[in-house]
């Protein structure tokens, strides 16, 4: 990782000298490192998750079909699948932003309902609040929890330094580049000290160089903080670059098609021939699903939209 730190592209604005070993805010250790998990119980468990919804034409459509998945504490799990397979929706279910039709989401073996700050989502469109400064955004979750201002400010500073945005506390979101916004979103998520980070194609809208950098940063943050990460992407190489394990979902209804353990040594690089080779294997499986999704799209003319926000108004 340190090799990457020296090869930063010049145009990328890094406010803090990229010395990643010396951590200026190390005195405040993230609370949940080494939080005792019951042995044998997974951090996140999905048991028989089904989700069906009604399309605009009034038909019932099964989006997720008996998803069973166990994620260990500290694991980096990537979920890949063609668009429309329900991978984002699955993440919304785990976050508690949407309710499954049947089945359970378990955290440390206990079923959860509704959102909780033990599981924080990072959205593709970052979802940062434009009316708040960077620091206020990062401190938002703590403010909701009622944490005192002094501690909040200290932790905001710590997490902003962690994502190398220490000098941007007072900036507003629109003043930042796309990559910086995602780093703020990561800091905001980490600041509530969640056990699980749910990342919904967070880097899909970024250019390749920025994405490379954020892969490095995310890997470093993950190894420094020991969080469990569930990362949804349609990019197989990105999944192999980051994940301990990759779960492939089928196209409509979404089922777990295959589990791949990625045993390549870290840090991995997107151009690494080993990455390409593993990607080839997974892509062969994925291709079949993508073809099915394209076929469905051509046949129907219109792709039925999975709308995880269908009940948003009544639940807000």
């Amino acid at each position: 990782m340190s090799a990457n730190a020296q090869n930063l592209p010049a145009q990328f604005p890094l406010p803090v000298t990229p010395s990643r070993s010396g951590n200026p805010g190390a005195k405040i250790a993230p609370a949940s490192i080494g939080r005792p998990a019951q042995p044998g119980v997974s951090k996140v468990g999905l048991s028989d998750i089904c989700l069906s919804y009604r399309t605009q034409r009034g038909e019932r459509l099964l989006a997720l079909d008996h998803i069973n998945l166990q994620v260990k504490a500290g694991e980096f799990l990537c979920i890949v699948g063609p668009s429309g397979c329900g991978k984002s929706t699955l993440l919304h279910l785990i976050a508690g932003l949407h309710n499954q039709t049947s089945g359970q989401v378990l955290i440390d073996g206990k079923p959860v309902a509704g959102p909780g700050t033990d599981r924080i989502m990072i959205f593709q469109e970052h979802g940062l609040f434009p009316w708040l400064s960077v620091a206020e955004n990062v401190g938002f979750g703590m403010k909701m929890k009622g944490i005192a201002r002094a501690e909040r400010e200290e932790r905001v500073r710590y997490y902003l330094r962690l994502v190398h945005l220490g000098k941007f506390e007072k900036s507003y979101i629109h003043q930042l580049s796309g990559g910086m916004r995602q780093r703020v979103a990561i800091a905001r998520a980490l600041a509530t000290e969640p056990d699980v980070l749910l990342m919904d194609e967070p880097f899909a809208a970024l250019d390749a160089q920025t994405r490379d950098l954020l892969h490095d940063e995310l890997e470093r943050i993950w190894s420094e903080t020991g969080r469990t990460i569930i990362f949804v992407t349609h990019n197989v190489r990105e999944a192999i670059r980051l994940g301990d394990r990759i779960v492939l979902l089928t196209f409509r209804p979404g089922r777990v098609k295959r589990n791949f353990a990625v045993e390549l040594p870290r840090p991995r690089h997107l151009e690494d021939p080993n990455v390409a080779q593993v990607a080839g294997e997974i892509l062969a499986d994925l291709r079949e699903e993508i073809n099915r999704s394209l076929e469905a799209e051509y046949n129907e003319g219109v792709k039925p939209k999975i709308d995880p926000n269908a009940n948003e108004e009544s639940r807000a």
């Binding site: 959205f123 609040f129 434009p130 009316w131 938002f140 909701m144 108004e313």
Partner: protein
């Protein structure tokens, strides 16, 4: 610079036209007041404090009435936007009520509240409440859903979710409705004041009419326009500019 120049030229021409028509004496001065007559009225009115008192009374009323509207309108708008039942029932009623000029409430307001300030306030509230309600409803719908999701995800719920997330997130979308509500409140107030001995600007205008003093009528009209414009230009413009800066929306001016 160019903009200021256009501004000056336009108003100079307008004023020139007024002077010209007044000097030609096509109509007698009691039908077409001269600029000097209006100026004298303005000067005299401020000097003997009539206008100062009228402005203070009217501003106080519109502030009270508008505040009530904003508060009630936000609650109503929130209700309408979060319940399909309310949207289909109350929402439709509110839209149809919007075609009713608020001064039509005056006869009922008189019966309900008596010949008092409260009757005026009622008309002001009825004038601006609908705009604020519909703006709030619309703002909640236009607001990107992701803000609500992110807020709930970070542990905000109930009132905190509304106050810290939904309200600020929808503010850029409701500010124009708030502005419209202000304009309606101001118009309703003047209309109601014209019908009742009220000390406000509306009554000063009617008194001028009763004395057939058209210069004074025009003077008060100018005051009403100026006050409405100042509130709009100072308070709402700066609010919009503030929001645009924070959100990074490109300003139209």
């Amino acid at each position: 610079m160019k903009r200021a120049l256009r501004f000056v030229i336009f108003y100079a021409c307008l004023f020139g036209l007024w002077v010209l028509l007044a000097e030609l004496k096509i109509w007698p001065p009691y039908l077409f007041p001269t600029p000097w007559g209006v100026w004298e009225e303005l000067y005299g009115g401020f000097k003997d404090h009539t206008y100062w008192i009228a402005i203070a009374v009217s501003m106080k009323r519109v502030l009270i009435g508008y505040s009530i509207s904003v508060l009630l309108g936000m609650i109503l708008g929130l209700g309408v936007s979060s319940s399909r039942f309310l949207e289909e029932t109350l929402g439709g009623l509110l839209v149809s009520l919007q075609s009713l000029p608020s001064i039509c409430w005056w006869p009922l307001a008189l019966l309900w509240f008596g010949l008092s300030q409260n009757a005026i306030l009622f008309v002001v509230v009825m004038g601006s409440l609908l705009s604020v309600t519909l703006a709030m409803d619309d703002g909640r719908k236009q607001m990107p859903k992701i803000f609500g999701q992110a807020g709930r995800n970070l542990g905000a719920k109930g009132f905190k979710l509304f106050w810290y997330v939904l309200l600020p997130a929808s503010l850029p979308f409701i500010v124009s409705g708030l502005k419209q509500g202000w304009a309606f409140a101001w118009r309703s107030l003047i209309a109601a004041e014209m019908l009742y001995l009220s000390l406000g600007l509306g009554q000063v205008l009617m008194m001028a009419r009763d004395f057939s003093n058209m210069s004074a009528v025009v003077a008060v009209m100018i005051l009403i326009i100026a006050l409405g414009y100042i509130v709009d230009g100072v308070i709402f413009r700066s609010m919009e500019r503030h929001l645009q800066n924070k959100w990074g929306l490109t300003s139209a001016t």
